[in-house]
């Protein structure tokens, strides 16, 4: 591994000052499950690695406000998956986070790091998209909040500016009953990157959100406001037509995990399955309340 300077700031101000000072030659270290591999392979060759693990303002827990659950930047996947509030209110996200890597990876990898990597195949992205997550960013000159559907720009690229850090990720609490579901296809069970991943959310109003990953340069969010997808009386042929339209934004490539044709076929089947599961989950919510 190439050598580098290591900094362990103990305050947000110190971290932001280091980021400003070193600019493009700095690499941020949160969980390290991707960064340490890249440091070893030389894919990143920073002058300085800034370790955020001991910055108290970047929290490692999940706070509940009147309007959202706020996931701190240092919160690891394992804690997200284990959180009872996340499991009950954002089950598709808990399920997606549980699919990330292995136990060892989930004990280190952060949700914030997962979105900052901006992998087209990031498993948490489709769930964050259908739940309408908001990314809270901070830099020396101030803070701003970016809806997750405007956060990703392409493989490895986000709207984050140099000198900016993720402070937390907000999961807005639902105002009406909703059902959600997540699914992913992999070549083998257990630790693998997604060939395709999909999340769906259906609201009591009938509005349906679908998000899919690993089939476009960035995760895609689409929605249907006709209410037909959640309507048990809607004709099958109409539902299929709407779904075909929703998945038409996929532009998959062929790679080591699958061909573009196979990815399209998977997306079609998986979208239907997550829709049906999300509708069933909505109905059971309504029965319960």
């Amino acid at each position: 591994m190439n050598s580098f300077t290591y900094a362990r700031p103990e305050s947000l101000d110190e971290a932001l000052a280091l980021l400003a000072e070193y600019g493009p030659t700095a690499t941020i270290l949160a969980g390290g499950t991707d960064v340490v591999v890249r440091l070893r392979t030389g894919r990143v060759l920073p002058a300085i690695v800034i370790d955020l693990k001991r910055v108290p303002a970047l929290r490692a827990d999940i706070l509940e406000t009147d309007t959202c659950l706020r996931v701190g930047a240092r919160t690891v996947m394992a804690d997200l998956v284990a959180d009872a509030r996340v499991r009950s209110r954002f089950p598709a996200l808990a399920e997606a986070a549980h699919e990330v890597g292995s136990v060892q990876i989930r004990n280190r990898a952060t949700l914030a790091g997962n979105i900052c990597n901006a992998s087209p195949a990031a498993d948490t992205a489709p769930a964050l998209l259908v739940y309408g997550a908001v990314v809270n960013l901070v830099q020396a000159s101030g803070t701003r909040s970016v809806p997750i559907d405007r956060f990703f720009l392409g493989p490895g690229r986000t709207v984050m500016e140099r000198g900016e850090l993720v402070e937390s990720i907000d999961l807005p609490l639902a105002k009406e009953p909703q059902g959600a579901a997540f699914a992913r296809a992999t070549r083998r069970r257990g630790v693998d990157l997604a060939t395709v991943n999909v999340a769906c959310l259906v609201r009591a109003s009938g509005q349906t959100l679908l998000a899919y990953g690993a089939v476009a340069p960035q995760p895609v969010l689409v929605r249907d406001d006709t209410g037909k997808l959640a309507d048990a009386n809607c004709r099958e042929v109409d539902k299929i037509g709407i779904l075909e339209n929703l998945i038409s934004h996929a532009t998959p490539i062929s790679d080591v995990r699958a061909s573009d044709v196979y990815r399209r076929a998977l997306l079609r089947v998986m979208s239907r399955r997550v829709l049906d599961t999300a509708v069933a989950n909505l109905r059971s919510q309504e029965h319960a309340s």
Binding site: Y6, A7, L29, V37, R108
Partner: protein, 161 residues
């Protein structure tokens, strides 16, 4: 705290209950420090990308791949390696049951497998077969001895209250 690439800095690790002080450069990974500087070669190096789990240790009570942790990041931390799993020569229930079930073939994956299993039983004392598969999914065995790992973990879990 800032450590430059030119100068090794002292860090403190509590390894298997014993406080150890070592000097490390910023780019040293925990795995190498355990093996090369502390002589704890039970932790194995294999894929070096967090896929295989051979280098699994418990860091501050959690199973992690020690190839993905910079040693300097772990400064002040508590580490359990395979050398510390037995309690003063008395084998852990998992070690006993792995022996009893014939779970060990070539042995290379076993230190990591046992520590993942240890973490699993710590967080879930009575896992189902499926939960064991999930808990050990980050540990690969090229002898493909998975069935007996599961049997070993199930048997060890029976001793739990």
């Amino acid at each position: 705290m800032i450590a430059t690439p030119a100068e090794a800095v002292p860090i403190q690790l509590t390894v298997n209950g014993e406080l150890r002080s070592v000097k490390v450069l910023p780019h040293y990974i925990l795995l190498d420090v355990l093996r090369n500087q502390l002589g704890l070669t039970g932790t194995k190096e294999c894929c070096l990308q967090g896929e295989c789990g051979a280098c699994t240790v418990l860091l501050n009570g959690r199973a992690v791949d020690s190839c993905l942790v910079l040693a300097i990041e772990a400064d002040g931390g508590e580490i359990l390696t395979i050398e510390g799993l037995a309690d003063h020569g008395k084998l852990d229930a998992l070690q006993t049951m792995f022996l009893e079930k014939g779970a060990v073939q070539c042995g290379f994956c076993i230190p990591g497998m046992l520590l993942s299993a240890k973490y699993l039983l710590k967080t879930n004392p009575h896992p189902t077969r499926e939960e064991i598969q999930d808990g050990l999914a980050g540990n690969l065995c090229r002898c493909a001895g998975y069935y007996r790992f599961i049997e070993g973990v199930l048997a060890a879990a029976e001793a739990n209250p």
